[in-house]
């Protein structure tokens, strides 16, 4: 076993690591939010008199107290930090109580009296799309949050050419991120007039925008410092930033440090979920086994607010046919407002839904054609130089779909084991099934948005190195990866590098650490910074020692014959003595991408990754109990920087993906989340999972300075359909709605 490297492991394993709620400050007050009791209403009056008189209460804050903008958002500024008049979801916060203790604030929240005029709510996105529907946001004139489409080839011609047409609807549900640490923030107004923020959030720069907007501050007057955070998975964006904005508001108005720590109940009530999708697919096939068309309509429930629905659904649009070549495509994707709890980013980001559908649909298609599912995939899947459904030619990198698939199927012995599947054989007491799924995934943000990142390498006079990047440590090990990349580029032992505690006031906004872009973008910036630094040092050696530096290895600088010119420390000493800073600012700008909203064509992403996962399982017919026996995955990561941590991404993604397939869902009642805590929301436990095998495939990516791509999301996006396919081979039944609700046989 190679030992894992993590710069934060020691602090975390000893309990020394301080997460947001572990901090206190002198004079610190506590805030607690009051959530809306119903999903749709107009607030007539908020009576705080009784609550104000409760022991320990310092201040009760409503929207009227907000000095800056009441509403903010990443794409559309539609999310009220505190509800002004109109309640749109039970996750809305109506007021904040600030008190000397958390218990006092909690007690006072219950004494706030609301006078409401209830409005008739909308919970069904299809209903919300009808012309006669009430408007969730009347100012938009429609409940449509966004619309994307793809028009490729000629759908009518495709329909004429098809020998067989399949029609199938698939549905997916809301999912809770279930990060172990609920949202929290601690803010204080510094004597220099800066609002200082710490919090459990994934995106310090996004958080800074939320806080600055709420307070009416300029970005320079808000500093977000990041502390260890207990998991995000895409979920600590909007809600986490709002918690920080509310805390900052309390600190600003009370002139005291304020902490707001969410209970699990508050977190589950308010935080956004994975989008539930309704997907209506029609797929045409010809007798040679080729897909000749795909027509699909998808409806995603955005809940009451926009959040990143346009981006999530855009990825679903680009990847609407999975990793297959389809000449004729007609795809319509709608993001829709309802009064449900809102939905947003979640590891996978619009791909788990599509893969759930398409990876089952291709197997249904193969069966109809009398082909095996492997053969059918081989005929239709993208290969080197293939054109995607959005007219992008896959030629900037190695298209390794065949490679990952072959590796998984060989490792799990698919062809052999497939013969033993039960297909619901009534003579058997236990049913066995094996199944797999494949995918491709566009890396990073793609044409969703601007995509660049930076790194600062600041070498100290003693030769030790301070490194930072615009990437955030979400728990995935991002800082460790950046340190390893810098160490390799500079020829230094890792012990000479320290990752500096990040602050939004010290490094430019590098965007959010999402979309599996941390290693790719931050690693690219680190690589480029290290190269600039080496140029500075090389230039210095040339000028003052008349030597040509060729390589940096083992804390030394070598010439092209491998002779040591000087040690690293001597080189740094020389720089400082000659008034030259060994300091580099490196940037990685994502290569050009493009998108045409009208046609749904473009080079959507600058590079892609490929993955395959296979699952073996058993089903007990009498009870419907599913036991996972084995999961094998292969993903092309470009280059593995920290192998053990790459494996950790595999296992964690597969575990969440398996939960997605088998039991995870967030049911709602009257728009409100029913599960209040983990006793009602089941995630995978250690005993639910089999031993998993992670096969790391490395095809260094020419578009990535570090040659690495990403691994966070690909691992989660195909476990569920692989399970569904295995369950089909165990039971003989297709489960097209996620999660799979096994019927007793």
């Amino acid at each position: 076993m190679t030992k894992a490297f993590r710069n934060d492991a020691y602090a975390k394993v000893t309990g020394k690591a301080k997460y947001t709620d572990d901090y206190t400050m002198q004079g610190m007050l506590h805030a607690v939010p009051l959530h809306a009791p119903v999903a749709s209403a107009v607030i007539k009056k908020i009576n705080v008199d009784k609550a104000c008189a409760m022991p320990g209460v310092v201040k009760i804050i409503t929207a009227a107290d907000i000095p800056g903008s009441i509403k903010f958002g990443q794409i559309i500024k539609d999310y009220p930090t505190l509800v002004h008049k109109r309640i749109r979801t039970t996750g809305d916060v109506v007021a904040l109580v600030v008190a000397n203790s958390r218990n006092q604030a909690q007690a006072a929240v219950q004494a706030i009296e609301l006078e409401l005029e209830n409005l008739s709510p909308l919970y069904d996105p299809e209903e919300a799309l009808l012309a006669k529907a009430n408007l969730i946001n009347p100012e938009y004139g429609s409940n449509l949050c966004n619309y994307h489409r793809v028009r490729t080839g000629d759908i009518r011609q495709g329909e004429q050419e098809a020998d067989i047409v399949l029609e199938q609807e698939f549905n997916t549900s809301r999912i809770e991120h279930a990060y172990m640490e609920p949202e929290a923030s601690l803010c204080h107004m510094r004597p220099d007039g800066v609002m200082e923020v710490i919090g459990s959030m994934q995106h310090p720069f996004s958080t800074r925008r939320f806080v600055a907007s709420t307070l009416g501050f300029e970005l320079k007057d808000v500093e977000v410092k990041t502390v260890p955070m207990g998991g995000g998975f895409g979920g600590k964006d909007d809600t986490a930033a709002l918690v920080c904005a509310r805390t900052a508001l309390c600190a600003y108005l009370t002139k005291h440090p304020v902490k707001l720590t969410y209970s699990r109940e508050m977190s589950m009530r308010e935080s956004y979920k994975r989008h539930p999708y309704r997907m209506q697919y029609k797929m045409g096939l010809n007798k040679d086994g080729k897909i000749v068309f795909v027509k699909v309509r998808m409806v995603a429930d955005s809940g009451a607010y926009c959040s990143v629905t346009p981006w999530v659904t855009w990825r679903s649009t680009v990847q609407c046919c999975g990793c297959y070549e389809v000449p004729n495509v007609h795809c319509d994707v709608y993001g829709v407002y309802t009064n449900n709890v809102f939905t947003g980013a979640f590891r996978g980001f619009g791909s788990p839904q599509v893969n759930w559908a398409i990876e089952q649909l291709v197997e249904m298609a193969a069966e109809k054609l009398g082909l095996d599912e492997l053969e059918f995939r081989r005929i239709n899947m993208v290969k080197q130089g293939s054109t995607t459904v959005t007219n992008q030619v896959l030629n900037t990198h190695k298209v390794s779909l065949g490679e990952v698939m072959d590796k998984v199927l060989k490792e799990i012995d698919y062809k052999n084991k497939r013969k033993h599947c039960s297909y619901g054989d009534t003579k058997q007491d236990t049913w066995y099934g094996i199944g797999f799924a494949i995918s491709y995934r566009g890396m990073s943000l793609g044409a969703e948005g601007v995509d660049f990142n930076s790194a600062i390498i600041n070498v100290q006079p003693d030769g030790s190195v301070l490194l930072e990047t615009g990437v955030h440590e979400n728990g995935q090990g991002a800082e460790s990866v950046m340190m390893l990349i810098a160490a390799e580029e500079l020829g230094l032992p890792i012990s000479r590098i320290r990752y500096r505690m990040p602050s939004t006031s010290n490094i430019p906004d590098g965007g959010t650490t999402v979309a599996s872009r941390g290693t790719l973008l931050g690693g690219g910036a680190t690589t480029n910074a290290a190269r600039i630094l080496k140029d500075i040092i090389s230039e210095t050696l040339k000028t003052y020692m008349q030597r040509n530096a060729a390589s940096f290895e083992k804390e030394s600088i070598l010439d092209d014959e491998g002779q040591v010119i000087c040690t690293w420390n001597e080189a740094i000493g020389l720089c400082y003595s000659k008034q030259i800073y060994p300091y580099a600012f490196g940037v990685f700008q994502a290569p050009r991408v493009s998108w045409d909203e009208e046609t749904g064509h473009g080079d959507a992403y600058f590079t892609w990754v490929y993955g395959c996962q296979a699952v073996e399982l058993e089903v007990e017919p009498k009870t419907g109990k599913v036991t996972l026996l084995n999961i094998v995955a292969a993903h092309d990561v470009g280059k593995a920087i920290n192998r053990e941590m790459v494996k950790g991404q595999f296992y964690g993604g597969m575990a969440t993906g398996a939960g997605y397939g088998l039991f995870e869902e967030v049911p709602l009642k009257d728009g409100a989340v029913i599960p209040t805590n983990f006793h009602q929301y089941r995630i995978m436990r250690a005993t639910d999972l089999p031993e998993m095998t992670a096969i790391i495939v490395e095809n260094p990516d020419p578009t990535s300075p570090s040659k690495a791509k990403g691994i966070g999301e690909p691992t989660l996006e195909i476990t569920a359909p692989a399970i569904a396919n295995a369950i089909y081979r165990a039971t003989g039944k297709r489960y097209t709605d996620q999660p799979i609700k096994m019927r007793k046989q």
């Binding site: 076993m1 394993v13 690591a17 991120h177 998991g231 699990r264 995935q476 941590m645 575990a655 995630i683």
Partner: protein, 157 residues
């Protein structure tokens, strides 16, 4: 009296009904004990009470009167070096966000104190009550196995 990490504390009546988790975090500043659900389901607040893994959010100080409590801050060896289980968590890549880590380590420690050579299945059973969303548990099981080998090497035949 309650002993926490070897130090004795006299408990006044006013504290008897306080949750152990809150007392550890707020009064003793032992913030390595984490609160994930506060209803005894996630295992983040696991501590050892008389060598048994217990959820500190489900206990009051009254419940642990006269007991020996060990938190994550109290398991390093006397010379300050890491407990083999802590080192194994680091080496095996068992740590990601780290929020479940203290509870995981303590549940694993309670297991190893009783069972020196657990199977992977027994390790999974012992960690069943500790939720983790990052790791898929596999490298945590690896870590416990690794630690067991180091702590209790099988005698040579």
């Amino acid at each position: 009296m309650i002993t926490v990490n070897g130090i004795n504390y006299e408990i006044g009546n006013e504290l008897k009904d306080k949750k152990l988790s809150e007392w550890l975090r707020e009064d003793l500043m032992l913030t390595g004990t984490k609160i994930g659900c506060n209803i005894g389901v996630c295992g983040s607040c696991t501590v050892l009470v008389n060598s048994e893994a217990k959820r500190s959010c489900k206990l009051t100080l009254k419940d642990v009167e006269g007991s020996k409590v060990v938190t994550i801050e109290g398991i390093a060896l006397e010379d300050g070096s890491l407990h083999p289980l802590q080192q194994a968590f680091m080496d095996a890549g068992a740590i990601q966000c780290g929020f479940c880590t203290p509870g995981m380590v303590l549940s694993a420690l309670a297991l190893l104190l009783k069972n020196h050579h657990p199977s992977r299945e027994e390790i999974r059973q012992a960690l069943k009550g500790n939720l983790c969303r990052c790791t898929g548990y596999q490298q945590i099981v690896d870590a416990v196995e690794l630690a067991a080998k180091q702590m209790y090497p099988t005698p040579k035949h």
